[in-house]
Symmetry: C2
């Protein structure tokens, strides 16, 4: 079985991406990050999802992005609430974490090289996304080019590292339908940027709003609502 | 004064690179990593160098690359000793750490974005180097391209992130002469991959051998030898 390193935040997109990797026949090596994020409990969701999806391994890297700050997720900046679609589309929001996906992919690349697994899976999408620069196809392509120059495997030409982004051109509703077809239990996932202490989603941050819109458009009941009796 | 983020391992090259950034008029923000390296005491050297060179700030990021291993610097693999120049040139050595420079540059990029400092300094060199893929000009160029697609600053087009590599095409002897002209005290630095507990260099790993050859060719006495009475 071919191995693939899959970035897993514990959210809707990364859970779906992991399920797609499994569907496509990969033994999955899930990688999550404790980076000082406000919604640290997404790591519990990542562990639930990795187990439910039969990941071959699941590791959590500890890095401290609070040492730089610069984001509502890693510094004392409020998470915006109740934003309209127009507001979300107007620019890069304060929940953007500087260099986050680059850092995450760099760690994935390190693990992939040691595992001799040239396949990485990343659940970014460029349609119903939150305006993050490091979720765009041009970023992913440039990362892949760089990675193949950075690594021993790339230089020796044995294998070419590839960043798979199966969700890149899907809407949130399409992602949900794809996940359901791959057996994802979305009740195990977590999306909210600013949850209550017990984990109940705020329902008002961009991430909650995009999630609710996606389930509504997909015509699917969000299992997370049942988890919290919503 | 323009700000620059400078990667600083505490070795000869990064100390010289920091000195060049200062010479060129930048306020320097030095960044080091506790990544589980065998030669962790290079961080003491980094602190000495940052202070001596008047860095505006010096931070140490803690990341654990032992979680992946795959290198003589991060796993239980012996550091090769007494290798000839021909052996060093024969391929990528086991002291290569998968994705290390990519990970380091990614963190530098995060800090640079928060500081609004589009200049990064990296002390790689492609002449007297140890065969690492992520020390080559093509890697650095690809990283820069990727970085400008990954970040808010890059996307908004305000500033273009640039990775400065002033040592890229210099021999070790030329680097040493440059450093001396910029006021570097090489007695403060540390290069050895496999030092004795008190910090005394082994004198036989690739890093020690390249350093000794560089000082011999430059016709300069290595202050580090005085530090240990060698």
């Amino acid at each position: 079985m071919r191995k693939a390193v899959c970035l897993l935040s514990g959210g809707l997109d990364s859970a779906t991406c992991l399920a797609v990797a499994r569907r496509d026949g990969f033994a999955t090596y899930a990688l999550s990050f404790d980076y000082g994020q406000r919604h640290i409990l997404e790591l519990d969701a990542a562990a639930r999802v990795a187990q439910a999806m039969g990941a071959a391994d699941h590791r959590v890297a500890r890095i401290d992005l609070r040492m730089f700050g610069g984001s509502a997720l890693t510094a004392g900046i409020d998470v915006p609430k109740h934003r309209s679609a127009a507001e979300m589309e107007a620019g890069i929001p304060v929940t953007y974490v500087p260099a986050r996906n680059t850092i995450f992919l760099s760690f994935a690349m390190a693990w992939a090289e040691v595992l001799e697994a040239p396949d990485l899976f990343l659940g970014v999408n460029a349609v119903d996304y939150s305006g993050y620069p490091d979720c765009r196809p041009e970023f992913v392509a440039a990362f892949e080019t760089m990675a193949n120059l950075a690594t021993k495997a790339g230089v020796e030409g044995k294998t070419k590292l590839r960043v798979h982004t199966p969700l890149l051109h899907l809407t949130k509703a399409e992602i949900i339908r794809l996940g359901v077809s791959c057996g994802v239990d979305y009740g195990l996932t977590h999306s909210c940027y600013d949850p209550e202490p017990g984990g109940r989603p705020c329902g008002a941050c961009d991430s909650c709003l995009l999630r609710a819109k996606g389930f509504a458009e997909a015509g699917v009941r969000d299992g997370l609502l049942d988890r919290y009796g919503l």
